[in-house]
């Protein structure tokens, strides 16, 4: 009993300390009624002042952690307030002009971080033209510059012409080959690309799109320093190439997926056929084709934004005649959009098969949780595909949804070998 009482007194002492003292001043001028109740009231404005928020020294001490927190975030508050009067109206309130410059930052990747600029003009020369340049710089080993020029309503109100040119050098790409390749056998290479593409898209209907493209790709594959540093197997010397490829192809998409901002029903079919050959010699000559099927199904008895999303995708590359296929043109699995729990390009062969099932449900109007499982394998011949040859990856993530649709995803993916954290502004499907 004594112990209990002591505890209660101690607690009362602490809690009363947390309180605020209130002082009531002596009154000066009196009246006898207030509203309906007989009350002596003091409506004087004379001192001393009757009401104030006072905190004891002890109260301030107990608040010290919160004071420190307030102090620590004060620069953030200053920055946001400053931004409100300068940048935010420009960005958020529809006052963005037709042209401008934005800073770009990229965190992660092989070099830790990179920085650059986005320049855009939404009506250069003509109102239906737009142009943008994105440039990211990190080191001499990692740069990425992309220029895109678009002419909307080209030849037809339903047509669009896009010219895209890009230069990139990226170190330490992973190389493995075959569905059963051991992770410990991986090796690395560096690459440097210049690519120029011209594509014309045409809307056959509101939901059917046809596009033709011609690409020029100049790629140089070199040895990676990481092979030596990590003591990994040597990169095959026959794959060290410097070549130029020309590709042309056609893409057909039928998009019956519906739902804004969340796609929650319908399907989407995408097929692609490309023919490529080397320009500098006749070493490479091949075709590359793929088919993708997306299906979206709302969960019965729940609101439509609880839905399953399914993706099935097959890719295959075939050499023409006795010509070869550059290794980097073989389909691979292991990326932010397929077999997400494995390292990049973990499985590579002349064909790949992928199934993905995602359960997407909202936790708020601007955010979804996604639970997913990926099953995939690579193969050389269709007859190699086996039910026991699938590799499994699984995980969860958070998607940010804007009023127009998908805006951003962060996902955690796992597999028997490794895991991956994904931060991207592009959807998986």
């Amino acid at each position: 009993m004594i112990f209990q009482r002591t505890c209660k007194l101690l607690a009362l002492f602490l809690f009363s300390t947390a309180g605020v003292n209130m002082t009531v001043a002596a009154s000066h001028n009196f009246s006898f009624t207030m509203q309906e109740a007989p009350v002596r009231t003091d409506t004087s404005s004379s001192e001393p002042t009757p009401y104030s928020s006072k905190k004891s020294v002890g109260g301030h001490l107990l608040s010290l952690p919160s004071y420190l927190f307030q102090w620590s975030i004060s620069p953030i508050g200053y920055a946001i307030k400053k931004a409100e009067t300068t940048v935010l109206p420009y960005l958020l309130e529809g006052e963005r002009g037709d042209y401008g410059v934005f800073p770009l930052f990229e965190l992660g990747g092989d070099t830790g971080y990179s920085y650059g600029l986005l320049l855009f003009h939404n009506r250069p020369f003509y109102p239906n033209h737009s142009a943008r340049v994105e440039a990211l710089f990190s080191s001499s080993d990692y740069n990425d510059i992309d220029f895109e020029y678009t002419i909307n309503r080209f030849l037809s109100d339903r047509g669009r012409l896009v010219f895209d040119a890009a230069f990139a050098n990226r170190p330490d790409r992973t190389f493995l080959f075959g569905n059963d390749a051991s992770f410990s056998d991986r090796t690395f290479y560096d690459r440097q690309d210049f690519e120029a593409a011209l594509s014309y898209s045409y809307s056959l209907s509101d939901r059917t799109f046809l596009s033709f493209n011609t690409d020029y790709l100049r790629r140089k594959i070199t040895r990676s320093d990481r092979v030596t540093e990590d003591n990994t197997p040597a990169f095959p010397s026959e794959f060290l190439v410097k070549n130029a490829l020309l590709s042309t192809g056609v893409n057909l998409a039928i998009d019956n997926a519906r739902g804004i901002p969340r796609i929650n029903r319908g399907s989407r079919f995408i097929t692609d056929l490309q023919w490529s050959r080397s320009l500098t010699d006749d070493q490479f000559n091949y075709i590359n084709y793929s088919a993708e099927w997306n299906q979206f199904i709302p969960i019965p008895f729940l609101p439509d934004d609880r839905r399953l999303a399914f993706k099935g995708e097959i890719q295959k590359v075939e050499s023409l005649g006795d010509k070869e296929i550059p290794f980097f043109e073989n389909p691979s699995l292991g990326s932010s959009r397929d077999l997400r729990g494995f390292s990049t390009n973990r499985f590579r062969d002349t064909g790949s098969l992928l199934f993905t099932l995602e359960y997407r449900y909202p936790i708020w109007d601007f955010s979804d949780v996604v639970l997913f499982v990926d099953e995939g394998q690579v193969f050389n011949h269709y007859s190699d595909i086996g039910i026991n040859d699938f590799h499994t990856s699984y995980g969860f993530g958070f998607h940010l949804i804007s009023t127009k649709g998908f805006a951003f995803r962060s996902e955690f993916a796992f597999s028997r070998e490794t895991s991956r954290f994904i931060l991207l502004i592009s959807p998986n499907f």
Binding site: T23, P38, T41, T49, S53, L61, E84
Partner: protein, 570 residues
């Protein structure tokens, strides 16, 4: 039992002892009654130097209150200990700092007694704060443009020199926003707050000219506003059959605008501002009035401080365009009033339930519940008074205690059906059915507020003591019965009457009337007598009906018999 030896401590224990001493220094208690006068006016209207204008931020207060303030709360050990104490039942909630011995708010630069305390006539309620109407017979001159915000407008001066902010309804919901502004303004005014004058006006669009030097911004460059700009602004506005444009006219307030006031802390450059805003009763209790109107966008940016000609800062509440069914130029979303814009409470339950938990607002198509475009989305059925929140957390609202809520609820309940109708009609809705819907919905939401909060605390108020000879009578009003929330036949009161000297007059005496009369013992040789009533309401089937109200009656020769203090058990 181990006893702390203050004289033989180790050097290391000195800081701990000092801390204990400091903490003890913070302990204080005060009498629950006064034999003097009860302060009904907080003298915060002393002349002060004119402070500078505070910036109004549209995003920072939302970000701060939604994110940083939520992180900060558990770091404040005062709050943590108090929460633990409440959980253990050994400490009460942190009460407001500006309440007098009657548990009432004193009048101040923030608040004045109006409808609950001195019932206003229907004419007074309809007039609200308004002193002048815009003169529509003469020419108006635009002297500034207002292009920011949900719906654009302009500032105009009428032929009599009165200046108004002119705003319009959104194109899809004519009469919605303007009527909500006017109705919300008048309800807040009647509840005791300072608000700007607002009225619906219909003006001839040809009697408006753009003044010289009125600038607008286009493509980042300023230029003179033209008559075409004005025509574009009014092109979406509602018009009557004569072609006159319907608008909300908000009169410029007297004094010098100083920007918004915050819902937390005090203004450092105003010596009169002594009570932390999050601990002001009238601001905490505002949550109940805001819940009635679904005033979801209540935040710093929608308030105003004005330096008056008497040299002090008056605090106004403004911008009621997000009340009732309006959300600026559009309609409220079903979630508004039920959850914050970012609400971790519901986000966590959604995430953990794998989407199987469907929140009540999720499967509602607002368009199906709009009886008239001029009413928007405003319903009583999904309204849960205890769960109502504004779109963004407001520290003062978060601090609201049951006593604050009772104070707010009795303000709301003071509006009779006819009072509500008188105010709604000033919204000048052209559709009679829309008026009826709005009146009925406000009545239903009001009754939900009374039913909920009056069940949480003993809702007896308006105490009147009277002494005749040796008879002491205490009359009071049961607000639950007065407002038809509870059935009088199901209610009894149990009270104990004692003197502070310990004399017992009545113990656990039962009464089915809100009038107690008892015979006092022969007077002691004392100038002042203080009698204490402890009253419990026994109400069949209502949880927490047995909460106690303690009323102190003070009697002396000089000032007679009066109420000296009221305490309400939470």
């Amino acid at each position: 039992m181990k006893i702390l030896n203050l004289y033989n401590h180790s050097p290391g224990s000195l800081p701990a002892l000092l801390l204990v001493a400091v903490l003890l220094g913070g302990c204080a208690s005060s009498s629950p009654y006064t034999t003097g006068a009860v302060k009904t006016f907080d003298p915060d209207t002393s002349r002060v130097e004119q402070p500078g204008e505070a910036e109004s931020y549209q995003y920072w207060d939302r970000i701060d209150n939604t994110i940083f303030h939520q992180i900060e709360k558990p770091l404040d050990l005062n709050r943590v200990f108090r929460f633990a104490g409440r959980t253990l039942g050994i400490s009460g909630a942190k009460q407001a700092d500006n309440i007098n011995r009657l548990d009432e708010v004193p009048e101040s630069s923030w608040y004045t007694y109006r409808h609950y305390y001195n019932p206003m006539t229907h004419e007074e309620l309809a007039a609200g704060p308004n002193t002048v109407q815009p003169d529509t017979s003469g020419q108006w001159t635009i002297f500034s443009a207002k292009l920011e915000g949900a719906n654009p407008g302009f500032f105009a001066e009428d032929s009599k020199g009165h200046r108004f902010l002119i705003k319009f309804d959104g194109p899809n919901y004519p009469e919605l926003t303007t009527s909500a502004e006017v109705i919300g303004t008048k309800i807040f005014y009647a509840a005791g707050y300072y608000v700007p004058e607002s009225t619906i006006t219909y003006f001839d669009p040809d009697k408006v000219t753009v003044g010289d030097g009125v600038m607008v911004e286009e493509m980042g460059e300023e230029r003179q506003m033209t008559q075409e700009d004005y025509r574009e602004i009014i092109s979406i506005a509602a018009k009557n059959e004569r072609g006159d444009v319907r608008a909300l006219a908000s009169k410029f307030v007297d004094g010098v605008p100083l920007g918004p006031w915050d819902f937390q802390g005090t203004r450092s450059d105003d010596p009169n501002d002594r009570v932390n805003h999050e601990h002001r009763r009238e601001i905490r209790g505002m949550r109940i009035i805001s819940s009635w109107l679904n005033d979801t966008d209540r935040r710093d940016a929608n308030t105003m401080s004005v330096y008056t000609e008497n040299g002090y800062i008056r605090h106004l509440v403004q911008d009621f365009g997000n009340t009732l069914g309006a959300n600026g130029a559009s309609i409220h979303y079903p979630i508004y009033g039920q959850a914050y814009l970012i609400d971790p409470r519901y986000m966590v339950t959604s995430a953990l339930s794998l989407g199987l938990n469907v929140h009540p607002w999720e499967d509602i198509n607002a368009q199906e519940y709009i009886p008239h475009p001029s009413v928007g989305y405003f319903r009583s059925e999904p309204f849960r008074p205890g769960n109502w929140v504004s779109v963004h957390p407001i520290p003062a609202f978060e601090n609201m205690t049951l006593r604050d809520a009772f104070w707010g609820a009795k303000q709301v309940m003071s509006f009779s059906d006819e009072d509500i109708r008188a105010i709604v009609e000033t919204g000048q809705l052209s559709n009679g059915d829309a008026v009826e819907y709005l009146v009925q919905t406000l009545i239903e939401r009001r009754d939900k507020i009374g039913g909920y909060w009056f069940s949480k605390i003993n809702p007896i108020d308006k105490f009147e003591p009277e002494r005749r000879g040796d008879q002491l009578t205490l009359r009071f009003t049961d607000l639950g019965i007065e407002n038809g929330i509870f059935n009088a036949e199901s209610i009894r009161y149990r009270y104990t009457l004692t003197s502070t000297g310990g004399q017992l007059v009545a113990e656990d005496k039962l009464s089915d009337q809100s009038t107690f009369t008892d015979t006092l013992p022969a007077e002691e040789d004392s100038d002042t007598q203080i009698w204490m009533y402890e009253i419990v309401t026994l109400r069949d089937g209502v949880k927490a009906a047995d909460k106690k109200v303690t009323v102190y009656v003070v009697m002396d020769e000089e000032y007679g018999t009066r109420i000296g203090g009221i305490q309400r058990q939470e």
